[in-house]
Symmetry: C2
Subunit: 129 residues, 2 copies
Amino acid sequence: MERIPILRMGEFLLVTIQVDMHDRLATVLQDDLANRISATRARGVLIDISALDMVDSFIARMFGDIAQMARSRRPSPALVGMQPSVAITLAEMGVSLTGVRTALNVEKGMALLRAKMEEERADDHAPAE
Amino acid sequence: MERIPILRMGEFLLVTIQVDMHDRLATVLQDDLANRISATRARGVLIDISALDMVDSFIARMFGDIAQMARSRRPSPALVGMQPSVAITLAEMGVSLTGVRTALNVEKGMALLRAKMEEERADDHAPAE
């Protein structure tokens, strides 16, 4: 098994990380994700990391890329199910998750992204000052 | 990583199989799933197997248990993303999936289960003959 499946759920893509990420798998996932995002025009990407209990440099790099996705605004990423040990290690490694939504579980993450999209739609329709 | 995460999506539970199933992991998944089903009163369970390209006896046994779940009716299981090689191997191994819904992807599987539930609700409300 050489790929992490990317599931489509309406306007969201869902990825569940549950295997140890080695270099090649992380690269394949990022390529696959980029392709699926452009093919589906997804508006949000949910990454479930509840099965992760440790972080190494590959995971940290992936999180850095997710944060970059957040800054470019589309699609909005959310990290769900982050364990305290993972959050602590990321902070210790100096990985910034500025702009990335985090939630306890997939349902809450989806609700967060939906709320964010509603907000953006309202902004788009607001009259210019 | 010792557990396969079970994600809750409304009235459904979603499991993505993406690691090689060994005996202990399959047992842990089944126990976890049973606990989550009773805790959440889920009405459907979606099992995404798009990452599986081969089947061994542990996987086959798991599929047998899923079929048994289908016969007991609640919660309704659906297997999504089955690759042709997997379907062929299961048939060769004599594993019967009678009653198990199958779909190309999670979205279609969810739609199938929703349709099935609507049907059952209609049956429940139909006058006795």
